[in-house]
């Protein structure tokens, strides 16, 4: 139990690392040292450097980088790719290195007792020189490997921690882990910097790398629990995706927008809600892209901007198909009402796709968004990663209070759910199913509104056809059952009547 005292609560220092401050509920505990532990390649050095870089970029807060591993020249060069001009910052007196990297080819003989007084003096000197508020130390494991007595290094690092605290410095110390789960770090470093621990993971899951960050503890203050996915982007460094930390404070709207198809508007009781998410699920070639095109066209007719992310077809293919249905995407784009982003799912990780989608939405500010299809993105992700992606994307679109149409391709031609559906169905407001129906040796198409939150809607499965004018929704299928399960069966009118009677009285 924590003893009760009248001390003011810990203040947090906003790191400026996107998304991290959200899960850290403000940032790192100010005036304290936080241990950032991770396996090789878990982006510890980037985290440490970014902690300083964001302090400089956002608040002109100077920082000191103590490197035990890579020489400063390497760090300057590596981080230039993040567009952090460390050399310039050094000239401006905002960044100082303390170079404690091993000297190549220099053999060091230990002849008696020693301490790391010189290191401490150098760090303090650098802090005073630039009036630093932030210090990054990378990495503890490398200090230990430079000296034979680990107890001595531990003692000295504890002394360093105390010195930093006295100076009111907020610091990040990185440490190596040998495995993703298990002890916090090697050399028992958690003994002396155990107050605040952040873990970076880089787990191989289903043959795909998945990066996550977890705040293990912040002594005396709060934070979000659990693992959050993150990515490292060339121009912005670490970006954390705060999936469940995102506040779902969406207002619901009564305003309806047209689906672009008058008959579908009728089926949904007057169109989609202004701030709703619509999932369109169906087998390949079933009409999902067409439905997306109609959704887009409805927006453009109103003179409202629309953004389409296409992951299944090339731009040429998509535009040609749209022309075939009577929609001129080229013209819409020239008018500035449409922006089509075509990408192959495999070109980037899911986190990168998400960040690109978000930044396109933020810069184009569309009144509608469509993604065709989200299930194509499933190929580049683990099941869990995909779920987080879907939730994060959905909540992002919802917060903008614009309708979003997402398509999902089902694996089976005839009915059956997709993984996307199972991830998506609970957070979507409207689900529309498009299904192939085999009837008397002929493939026909069926459409139904499976769910529509907050509105009456038709429950029937209607037949639809596609031609040069788009989608035509016709009468409901009669005398046929089992369409959604993919096993349509005809039943005689007599049987229908008998079944209907079952529900009377």
């Amino acid at each position: 139990m924590e003893p009760k005292h009248s001390l003011s609560p810990l203040i947090k220092l906003s790191t400026g690392i996107e998304g991290f401050d959200l899960i850290a509920e403000g940032g790192l505990p100010m005036g304290r040292t936080t241990l950032v532990a991770g396996t090789a390649g878990s982006a510890k050095t980037v985290f440490a450097a970014q902690f300083l870089a964001e302090g400089i970029r956002r608040k002109q807060q100077a920082g000191v980088f103590v490197t035990f591993e890579e020489p400063p020249a390497d760090i300057r060069r590596n981080l230039l790719s993040m567009s952090w001009d460390i050399e310039q910052w050094e000239k401006d007196g905002l960044w100082a290195f303390v170079d404690a990297s091993p000297l190549p080819g220099l053999e060091q003989i230990e002849a008696g007792d020693f301490d790391l007084g010189a290191l401490l003096a150098r760090i303090e000197h650098a802090i005073h020189q630039v009036s630093a508020k932030r210090v990054a130390i990378d990495s503890l494991g490398a200090v230990f490997s430079q000296f034979t007595h680990s107890y001595l290094v531990r003692e000295e690092m504890r002394r360093l921690g105390a010195a930093l605290r006295n100076l009111g410095i907020t610091a990040v110390m990185t440490a190596e882990r040998t495995q993703e789960f298990g002890e916090i770090a090697r050399f028992g470093v958690e003994e002396f910097v155990a107050d605040n621990v952040v873990i970076l993971r880089n787990v191989l899951e289903d043959e795909k790398r998945r990066r996550t960050v977890e705040i293990l503890k912040f002594r005396g203050t709060t934070h979000q629990k659990g693992e959050y996915p993150f990515t490292v982007l060339p121009d912005s460094g670490i970006v954390v995706i705060p999936v469940s930390a995102i506040e779902l404070k969406q207002r619901s709207s009564d305003r309806r927008v047209s689906s672009g198809n008058p008959e579908l508007d009728r089926m949904t009781g007057g169109g989609f809600f202004q701030d709703s998410l619509i999932l369109v699920s169906g087998a390949t070639g079933c009409g999902k892209t067409l439905m997306t095109a109609e959704f887009i066209a409805a927006s453009i007719t109103q003179g409202e901007r629309c953004l389409l992310f296409a992951y299944e077809e090339s731009r040429e293919q998509l535009f040609r198909n749209a022309r075939g249905w009577g929609y001129d995407f080229n013209k819409y784009e020239q008018e500035g009402l449409l922006q089509v982003i075509c990408a192959y799912p495999e070109t980037a990780g899911l986190e990168d796709h998400l960040i690109k989608i978000k930044s396109h939405i933020d810069s184009f500010k569309p009144r509608r968004v469509a993604v065709d299809s989200v299930s194509a993105l499933e190929r580049v992700a683990t099941s869990r990663g995909f779920r987080e992606f879907i939730i994060s994307l959905a909540s992002f679109v919802k917060q903008r209070e614009i309708p979003g149409m997402f398509t999902a391709t089902t694996a089976n031609l005839m009915g059956g759910p997709s993984i996307t559906e199972s991830h998506f169905s609970s957070i979507t407001d409207t689900i529309i199913l498009l299904r192939y129906v085999e009837m008397l040796g002929e493939m026909r198409r069926g459409i139904t509104v499976l769910k529509m939150r907050g509105s009456m809607h038709e429950k029937e499965i209607r037949e639809f056809t596609i031609d040069g004018q788009g989608m035509h929704i016709n009468a409901p299928f009669r005398n046929i059952i089992g369409i959604l399960s993919g096993r349509p069966e005809f039943i005689t009118p007599g049987e229908m009547e008998r079944m209907g009677r079952l529900f009377n009285d």
Partner: protein, 96 residues
């Protein structure tokens, strides 16, 4: 037989501690016994942190042999004479 070459030595210490004093007296003794011609410079890193930065000193005491080449580094209070001699490329006289 003592070394006749000129030795240039630098000893980095942190403040006037017992350990610093220990290192200075140990080094003085070894130099007097083993070397004919030497220059010894003692640097306190608390007074000259910039020098420690330039020389990339982490541990104190650190003894650097600048001349004759190659550069040598020995850390510790120099109480282990054998290690110091080894570090300076000197053979202890009594073992000869």
């Amino acid at each position: 037989m003592a070394e006749k070459e000129t030795y240039q030595l630098k000893l980095y210490i942190t403040g006037h501690t017992h350990r610093s004093a220990q290192a200075i007296s140990n080094l003085q003794r070894i130099c007097d016994q083993e070397l004919v011609d030497y220059e010894l410079l003692v640097i306190d890193v608390l007074e000259h942190p910039g020098l420690a930065e330039d020389e990339k000193i982490l541990a104190t005491p650190t003894l650097i042999r600048e001349l004759p080449p190659p550069l040598r580094r020995i850390i510790g209070d120099l109480s282990n004479t054998e290690k110091v001699l080894l570090g300076l490329d000197l053979k202890p006289i009594r073992s000869k």
